[in-house]
Amino acid sequence: MKSTQARNSFKRGLAAGAAALALIAGTAVAQEPIKIGSFLSVTGGASFLGDPEKKTLELYVDKINAAGGVLGRKLKLISYDSAGSAEKARTFAKRLIDEDKVDVIIGGSTTGETMAVIPLVEAAHIPFISLAGAVVITEPVKKWVFKTPQTDRMACEKVFADMQSRKLTKIALISGNGGFGKSMRAQCLSVASKYGIQVIADESYANGDTDMTAQLTKIKNTPGLQAVLNPGFGATPAIVTKNYRQIGITVPLYESHGVASKGYIKLAGAAANGVRLPAGALLVADALPASDPQRAVLLSYKHAYESTYHSDVATFGGHAYDGLMIAVDAMKKVGSTDKAKVRDAIEATHGFIGIDGTFNMSPTDHMGLDLGAFRMLEIKNGDWTLLN
């Protein structure tokens, strides 16, 4: 008798204990934050990419948490500064995966850093949304790697299409020798013939250089010159622009989306007037018609960023916004942070209206934007204007 009673009460105690444990564990898991991992070039040569990216991530993680978080859990942003170095990016990615055990990685301001990390995320089966520009990141498609910025090839195509419409066929390239400039130059050279463009001069400069009149003089003296394209980013394209006007080149100058921030206009001053470039619609959000699907998202981001940080918004921050929102959206859709499920949901992103454009991803397209994501802008009177 006693032993059966004892066994029954033992069983009951065990069941109660198990239930209590499950409850505690359940609540503990529910309280555990969703970890968003990130490595960005906050300092170093690409800091004007990484700085707005980090600020954007921090701003929107706070906003999302203030609105109740995701799936009832808070978001926690763990971000490291890779300073533009592929080696540091690799080590920090390892740290995010093995030590911090994050649920998703959004980062990689530059292509070099992104490419270094790809083998790690592929092996660790963790979804990774890159914020870098080169087309090689998603071509060929890698299972766990996505990206939000428009590709450098798209920028070339947008520029060449505009040149074609103005009957400009013989052009010169002057590119920065960093990863972005070189990669875009290579893309432009490969797609030029598709648009009937002939590259008749090809100069380059180092990203820290202070004067490009020598290269531009060579370009100016090339017979038959009809336009010049400057793939590059940072402050140096502004110097190129100033030098361009200084030595009196009159043919049209095109810049890349690497200068899509107010800083370029401030540095180049009056020399920037008349320059055309492909860029996301963020810079001309106010000028968009009310019917434009991106207008609301763009204005909301612009207002939030500028009122929090008191500095002009830059398209690079928009890449981070898109990455974060797509990831969060995917988590909400599958109702968990299971990495495989989230990856599938990201791949199925459809009609997502972001800062960079409207995303339609697929198993063969892990970027999801088309040429329409780029608008052609021209700088007039020290401000961006939208060309139709």
């Binding site: 080590t91 390892k94 490419m115 090689v136 290579a186």
Partner: protein, 330 residues
């Protein structure tokens, strides 16, 4: 062998020190909880190999090199291009690259080492920058600023992949590098080098061919850097020109001086501290650079001979303070 002889041998850098280092390397994994820590340890090991070689040049031979990352980068790219683009077996690529870098160091070293002091520093710096520019510009070969990915290191069918295997490989190679360096220092060549360091003219007067010795050390240190670069390329799976950049060269020299010039173990300590420090300082975020710089200044001001020699001095002076009856009795 009686106990005092064993103790004396244990106290010598070659036996005792190597043993201590070997034990440290063997036991360290117990303190490493996950792959990330192994990764940092491997990076420390690779940097340490370069620094041990560089220390021979700077600390013992007294020659400065501000372009050593160039050799490291060449080693990395040589292995990367031969093994990945041309499908060579990685071991053959490694050996071929090492020979090529040694040859380059030999050819370039002859004229460069005729310079002294800051002029030599400038020449090595220029060499490093030229190497960096070539790696960045010849993108058809080298992939340009974004670099190229590298196949894993294979010996036959066996592939070296994963932090755990690489940890032991790098650990053993570090021990080998330290052993080689210590042997060189204790050999007549090493003594010739130290004579060179204190007075080049004096050394020549006693019959030491200064130019030959300087060149030899230059080539040896370039080889250490190249091998470490090749291995690093296979380990991390990619190469970018920043491996050969000026800032990397400065980092290496800083590690050597920080750890202690003319101290092989100092070079290891310097590499360890300066490789792990950025990982420890990440919580400072925006202030990380300031803290790092301040730490560098502070350490060099208070330990001007570098960490290991200063601590050794401290211990030695403490020991002298205690009266030692056994000192002369041997």
């Amino acid at each position: 062998m009686n106990s005092s002889r064993i103790l004396t041998r244990l106290a010598s850098p070659r036996t005792g020190g190597l043993l201590a280092l070997a034990i440290l390397i063997a036991l360290l994994p117990l303190a490493l909880p996950n792959s990330y820590f192994y990764d940092v340890a491997i990076l420390v090991g690779l940097n340490a190999i370069v620094c041990v070689g560089l220390n021979l040049l700077i600390g013992y031979a007294g020659q400065i090199s501000l372009g050593h990352a160039g050799f490291f980068g060449l080693g990395a790219y040589g292995s990367a291009i031969l093994a990945t683009r041309y499908g060579w077996p990685p071991l053959a690529a490694l050996l071929a690259t090492t020979v090529a870098v040694a040859l380059l160091a030999y050819i370039v070293g002859r004229p460069i080492l005729r310079l002294k002091g800051h002029y030599l520093a400038m020449a090595t710096l220029g060499l490093g920058i030229i190497i960096f520019m070539v790696l960045t510009t010849e993108d058809k070969f080298t992939g340009g600023p974004d670099g190229i990915s590298v196949v894993p290191f294979r010996i036959g069918a066996f592939a070296l992949q994963g932090e755990h295997i690489w940890y032991w490989v790098v650990g053993v190679l570090l021990l080998l590098a330290v052993w080689l360096a210590l042997n060189l220092i204790e050999s007549p060549t090493g003594r010739a080098l130290r004579a060179l360091h204190s007075s080049e003219v004096g050394a020549e007067v006693v019959g030491i061919n200064a130019a030959e010795h300087k060149l030899m050390v230059f080539v040896i240190s370039a080889v250490f850097a190249s091998v470490a670069g090749s291995l690093g390329a296979h380990y991390s799976g990619f190469v970018t020109p920043s491996k050969a950049a000026f800032l990397h060269s400065i980092e290496l020299v800083t590690m050597v001086v920080f750890g202690g010039l003319a101290s092989t173990y100092g070079a290891v300590v310097g590499a360890a501290v300066l490789t792990t420090l950025p990982q420890l300082l990440t919580s400072f975020e925006d202030y990380e650079m300031m803290v790092f710089g301040a730490l560098m200044i502070g350490t060099m001001v208070f330990l001007p001979r570098g960490v290991v020699p200063s601590i050794a001095r401290l211990l030695a002076s403490r020991r002298k303070a205690v009266p030692d009856d056994k000192a002369d009795g041997k």
